[in-house]
């Protein structure tokens, strides 16, 4: 089974032309062009006009490209975004099966119209309300287009009347429910890193690695990054380190030897190695290989984009 490696998903407002021009160069696994936040309705029309070229621009170094549409203008936004380079849409405020089914139908219609492979455009539902949290199962099983689901804590806080960054953590239940239900359905839960209970200012690389590591240990498979400087720390936190790969390679050897010797439990480095630990080791090594493959893919695309950029008139 191939592992979907989508560690960092960088959110870039459609109206920020400088960021749209340079985001490709920041090593994100995915980039989401945002039509929702920070764009007045009057500017939407202009943003839509240049959307297809923005999709191509941000994706030229191998990032998968998404567009966050407006809940109120799904059809118009998707119509502007649809092209072969578009990987999918982020659907804000998903609350029901019906909501997803409508977006699915719109995507199918526009895929057909634009000659894009039917069913290839993903939907990432964004959970932003109590109703969304409650109906999570019907939402994420409503369309085969759904491979990831995110919980937008800033929106959820606003809809529940919770102060952002509140302590104690108000989202234990919502986050836990998302991770369990998504994992059960074979869909990846991802976190929207702003706020994750945090202010994004003045965070060092190490702080950001820690935040992403905590998110990973809550069960999230990736983070939607609010700023450029989140991308590399998030990638780092989700990529097994060399020493971890060495350790789990040894774990697998020790366990294989134990099995050959007739036991399914063996001591190693102060821990007991048994079936679940060996299974975990397999997962870590598979993840490491999948990350390496994804990085190589991006590297190749990046080389091409850079040469193109340099030789362009």
């Amino acid at each position: 089974m191939t592992i979907l490696v989508r560690r960092s998903n960088l959110m870039v407002p459609a109206s920020q032309h400088r960021m749209i021009r340079w985001a490709w160069n920041r090593n994100a696994d995915a980039i989401t062009i945002d039509l929702q936040d920070g764009i007045p309705d009057a500017a939407l029309e202009t943003a839509r006009e240049t959307l297809q070229s923005a999709v191509a621009q941000v994706g030229k170094a191998g990032a998968e490209v998404f567009v966050r549409v407006n809940a109120a203008y799904v059809y118009a936004d998707v119509a502007a975004a649809m092209c072969r380079d578009l990987r999918g849409i982020v659907l804000p405020g998903a609350e029901s099966r019906q909501h997803v089914a409508e977006a699915d139908a719109i995507l199918t219609e526009l895929e057909r119209h634009h000659g894009v492979e039917l069913g290839s455009t993903e939907i990432i539902p964004s959970i932003e309300t109590a109703a969304g949290v409650w109906h999570i199962r019907e939402i994420i099983t409503a369309s085969p287009r759904i491979r990831q689901v995110c919980i937008d804590e800033a929106e959820l806080a606003a809809s529940l009347g919770i102060v952002q960054g509140a302590d104690p953590d108000p989202f234990v239940y919502a986050r836990g429910r998302l991770c369990i239900e998504a994992t059960a359905a074979g869909v990846q839960p991802i976190a929207v890193a702003d706020p994750m209970g945090l202010s994004t200012e003045n965070l060092s690389h190490d702080d950001l690695v820690q935040i992403a590591t905590d998110a990973r240990n809550l069960g999230f498979k990736g983070l939607v990054c609010p700023h450029l400087n989140w991308v590399n720390p998030v990638n780092d936190a989700y990529t097994p380190t060399e020493s971890l790969v060495d350790y789990y390679t040894q774990v697998r050897e020790v366990f294989a030897q134990a099995l050959a010797a007739g036991t399914a439990a063996a001591p190693f480095a102060g821990r007991m190695i048994d079936v679940p630990v060996d299974e975990w080791a397999k997962d870590v090594l598979a993840m490491s290989a999948a990350c390496a493959a994804r990085d190589a893919e991006k590297q190749t695309a990046h080389e091409k984009a850079r040469i193109w950029q340099e030789t362009a008139p």
């Binding site: 199962r137 234990v172 239940y173 986050r175 836990g176 429910r177 991770c179 369990i180 239900e181 998504a182 994992t183 059960a184 359905a185 905590d214 990973r216 240990n217 809550l218 069960g219 498979k221 134990a258 099995l259 007739g262 036991t263 399914a264 439990a265 821990r271 007991m272 048994d274 079936v275 679940p276 630990v277 299974e279 975990w280 997962d283």
Partner: protein, 322 residues
């Protein structure tokens, strides 16, 4: 299905059934139950050997009064049940339970084996261990699938962490939602919940008696009564941690006495001071808690007596034989 006596499960050792030394020595450790493992601690090439050992091992682990439990393999359910369901077995542990139909199938097979092998109908319990996200998502249907499920829990541990892709010892509770779901399911359906309240653990030690006591004590204070472990060091601390102390018993008697006086006064609650000078509220909730504590302590004492008598009998027989 007829009523079956409640079996206490404060402490239990899980051990590979193929390791004869473990199986032969477990009976005198004082566990409430002994879990003979056919699953993860048994290598694939020994599964057949392991299966053939269950029937003869039941009386061995039973002889010190511990209840015999067998953990079967998820993917070898039918063959393992056929090897494990014999008189003297209390419970079958089914790992990675995910769907109600699995439990219904187990129930059918066990029902047939009970009839064929002279076991009281409905006596064998099913432990449906939740170790995956799918299991949590289907918890309610799973517990509803068979009256043989008399306790229920899980949603934490190595398999769960693997399924969620989270590390084990991270300093916060990665499993809090799943544990909450299975506990609510158990309580809503009237079966005994078992869970481990979060206590920070960065070592992963399975043999530390102080940690075992602290965890059992914390679990009991959260309303849980079920333990179990891998190392003999943790048996006594778990029995102790899950059993109300003498001080708690004295306090419960005092609470009930205060409540009797209160009832006569016609008031519904009163604030007073206990023996240590602490301010206390006495009302019917507090009285109910004290009552339950005394009942639980009596069950613990009875179970401890049962086990120590069994162990004495074995010892006396051994001396007689010499």
């Amino acid at each position: 299905m007829a009523d079956h006596p409640r079996r206490l499960k404060r402490s239990g050792l899980t051990m590979p059934i193929v390791t004869e030394r473990f199986i032969n020595n477990a009976w005198h450790r004082g566990c409430d139950f002994i879990n003979m493992d056919l699953e993860d601690s048994v290598p694939p090439n020994l599964k057949d050997v392991a299966r053939n050992l269950v029937r003869q091992s039941i009386p061995v682990v039973n002889k010190g009064g511990a209840d015999a439990v067998c953990r079967i393999n998820h993917d070898l359910m039918e063959a393992d049940l056929n090897a494990a369901v014999w008189p003297g077995l209390m419970m079958v542990n089914y790992p990675k339970a995910e769907y109600a139909h699995e439990i219904r199938r187990m129930d059918e097979i066990i029902t047939r084996l009970e009839a064929e092998r002279g076991i009281r109908p409905g006596a064998i319990e099913i432990g449906a261990n939740i170790e995956t996200a799918v299991g949590v998502a289907n918890a309610y249907e799973i517990v509803s699938a068979s009256p043989r499920i008399r306790d229920f829990g899980g949603a934490s541990g190595y398999d769960m962490s693997r399924d969620l892709g989270v590390e084990m010892f991270v300093g916060f509770d990665q499993f809090v939602y799943g544990k909450g779901e299975v506990e609510l399911t158990a309580r809503a359906l009237g079966v005994e919940p078992h869970a481990a309240p979060f206590t920070p653990n960065l070592t992963g030690s399975v043999s530390d008696p102080d940690r075992a006591f602290a965890e059992a004590d914390a679990a009991r204070r959260c309303g849980f009564r079920i333990g179990g472990g891998l190392h003999p060091n943790v048996v006594e601390p778990q029995n102790r941690g899950f059993t109300p102390t003498d001080d708690e018993v004295a306090d419960a008697h005092w609470v009930l006495e205060q409540y009797r006086l209160l009832s006569r006064s016609g008031d519904t609650w009163i604030q007073t001071e206990d023996a240590t000078g602490q301010p206390r509220i006495i009302d019917r909730y507090e009285a109910a808690r004290a009552q339950e504590l005394l009942q639980w302590r009596a069950l613990c004492e009875e179970r401890d007596r049962e086990k120590s008598e069994a162990i004495s009998r074995v010892r006396a027989a051994e001396e007689h034989a010499e």
